[in-house]
């Protein structure tokens, strides 16, 4: 377990203001926030690169604020991988064990094991400059994991990768966490990443922690406007897949069912529908490829040039001023919210 207590620090343009956080043993904890919010600074402070101006850091109840990074047993993975360019993949991974003066035999087996589990054994003689981004990131992860860290710190680990590699590494991170159960703190600005991976999310803005909650709560009940506009581009609703046919999953929601195009076959999911993909109408739109859910309008807010209509079925839609007038949309009215199965995105919870 790691705890930050009232940590304040300034570094160049980045600041942390009175940050208090507690991450439980074995938890996958995501720090979510816009660029330059101070997210990386939190990780670097936990790792011990900076001694905070104020406040304390505890690792398993021990105050580690003044302990140098090499004595903390923390694994760190940077966005740019930061592999040692003058060492082979194998030497990179073995580095931490060599620093710990582990016997050569044991180093070899441990390095081999972690390479096997990350599927990078075939790369062991290669130098980092010859590897793809995804391969480099696997090596960086292996290098951090081989020392059996008490905590794994990941600084935007997927953001430099192309979407397909991102997805496969996301699955990999999830698998590693399930298998090893290492307490993980993962910093990102990407909401999908946060939702897929996090047990809990801390939202940080301008160096302050503004909300710490389960993913579902952060996205559905943001505590202030700022978070709402940062995370609020999507509708996120919890559901459960009850059947699947021809690539279309039937998902049971609160009190209705929807269809979604998905590879998932079962389990608890978060359902994503972008508000701009939801059409409102007074009558039900019948179509097999379309979901049409009725609901009562609970709120109407202006959102830039458009209006956002919130309904009691958990969905919200973006509409123009003209549509509001034509349909007579106001609080208390009943409408049908329609969206295509192809515009519905499922992420396993």
């Amino acid at each position: 377990m790691i705890t930050l207590e009232k940590v304040s620090h300034e570094w160049g343009d980045f600041t942390l203001k009175n940050v208090t956080l507690s991450v439980n043993e074995g938890e996958y904890f995501v720090i979510l926030g816009p660029t330059a919010a101070g997210k990386t600074l939190i990780l670097e402070t936990i790792a011990g690169f900076y001694i905070p101006r104020e406040g304390d850091i505890f690792l398993n109840e021990k105050n580690i604020t003044q302990i140098p990074p090499e004595k903390r047993n923390i694994g760190f993975v940077y966005q740019d991988y930061s592999l040692f360019p003058h060492m082979t993949v194998e030497e990179n991974i073995a580095f931490g064990l060599k620093m710990r003066k582990i016997p050569k035999r044991e180093v070899e087996t441990r390095v081999q094991n972690v390479m096997d589990s990350m599927h990078i054994s075939q790369l062991k003689e290669r130098f980092p400059s010859t590897l793809s981004g995804g391969e480099q990131q696997r090596v960086a992860l292996a290098r951090a994991l081989v020392i059996d860290p008490d905590i794994l710190l990941l600084d935007e680990p997927l953001s430099a990768l192309d979407p397909r590699t991102q997805e496969s590494l996301r699955e990999e991170l999830k698998r590693i966490h399930t298998v090893r159960g290492t307490t993980t703190i993962h910093v990102t600005h990407d909401q999908d990443e946060a939702l897929t991976l996090a047990d809990r999310i801390a939202v940080i803005m301008n160096g302050k922690v503004v909300q710490v909650d389960a993913p579902y709560k952060v996205f559905n009940e943001p505590v202030n406007e700022e978070i709402a506009s940062f995370v609020g581009v999507e509708n996120v609703i919890e559901g459960k897949i009850i059947s699947r046919e021809n690539g279309v999953a039937l998902v049971e929601m609160r009190n209705y069912k929807i269809r979604a195009l998905s590879n998932l076959t079962e389990g608890e999911v978060n359902v994503f529908v972008r508000p701009e993909n939801i059409i409102l109408s007074k009558v039900k739109l019948e179509s097999s490829a379309r979901n049409s859910i009725n609901g009562t309008i609970t709120n109407v807010t202006q959102y830039g040039a458009t209006f956002r209509i919130y309904m009691d079925n958990g969905l919200s839609s973006l509409v123009t001023k003209q549509a509001i007038e034509e349909l007579g949309l106001k609080i208390g009215e009943t409408v049908y919210a329609s969206f295509k199965a192809t515009a519905t995105h499922l992420i396993r919870r």
Binding site: P69, E70, I74, F76, S82, H86, M99, A144, I147
Partner: protein, 272 residues
């Protein structure tokens, strides 16, 4: 690329054509000047060149020059590497002042530097006296040559080393620390090996700069004569006939040494 293709490319890029032409004048200027001297000596006055090669005073002067400059470079490396690292990694008040001070030897005339060195290190000065108690005397001695060379070549080493350290992402050291390396080990195992090519080329530049120093050296140590001093002496007493063969010999020695150093630097750097 075929020549025709290259020409076609050039036609489409008149600026590159003109710039390349103008630029090549500078290269020709350097090459022709040196080649002219070497060629004249070897083709028309080979006897004088052979005599110079066989002259023990010339040989010992060449060795002295290479050796004193090597010592000056070694001192610059031992003191300059930590300085370069600090300048590359840390910001502190007055940093730009420190950086300007390092460049001072490049800016001031070298005879001026020589006089300053002489008054600082002569036996009558406090520093000179302290050193003479240790048995180190600067006036007309090898150590005088070394300090003069050190003074003028320091900026070349420190600036190259600083650029080298700056080119290495500090995150590499940080990651090494999380993996259990102390600050010393992270420097020694990560940063130093990655910077070694920069350090090496900085050292070669500093060494070359030391070898060519004349103005600062003669003020503090006319004797023992290093090659630039010997050439000057021969030129004023025997004219071209006496000085040119030594100059040609020195140039050939320098070429040889630098080619060897370059090749070895490339060999070391291969792994990256």
């Amino acid at each position: 690329m075929s020549i025709r293709k290259a020409l076609r490319n050039v036609k489409r890029q008149p600026l590159s054509l003109i710039f390349s032409f103008v630029g090549s004048l500078l290269i020709l200027f350097i090459l022709l000047t040196l080649f002219n001297m070497i060629f004249r000596q070897l083709a028309f006055e080979s006897q004088g060149f052979i005599e110079a090669c066989a002259d023990p005073s010339v040989i010992s002067s060449i060795l002295l020059t290479l050796y004193t400059s090597f010592l000056a470079t070694l001192i610059a490396m031992i003191i300059g590497t930590p300085l370069a690292y600090v300048l590359a990694r840390h910001d502190f008040p007055g940093k730009s002042v420190v950086e300007s001070i390092i460049d001072v030897p490049v800016i001031i005339p070298h005879t001026v530097a020589g006089i300053a060195l002489y008054t600082f290190f002569m036996r009558r000065s406090a520093v000179g006296m302290a050193f003479s108690n240790l048995g180190i005397i600067f006036e007309d001695s090898m150590w005088g040559i070394v300090v003069a060379m050190l003074f003028v070549s320091t900026p070349f080493y420190v600036n190259a080393a600083r650029e080298g350290f700056q080119s290495i992402n500090p995150r590499l050291e940080r990651v090494a620390r999380t993996l259990g390396a102390s600050q010393w080990k992270a420097f020694y195992r990560i940063t130093l090996p990655l910077a070694v090519r920069h350090l090496f080329s900085g050292a070669v530049m500093a060494w070359a700069r030391g070898i060519s120093e004349f103005g600062a050296v003669i003020m503090i140590a006319f004797y023992p004569m290093i090659i630039p001093t010997l050439i000057f002496y021969e030129f004023t007493t025997h004219g071209l006939k006496g000085s040119q063969p030594i100059a040609v010999l020195m140039i050939l020695v320098c070429f040889f040494v630098f080619i060897v150093l370059r090749a070895s630097a490339r060999y070391w750097g291969r792994r990256k």
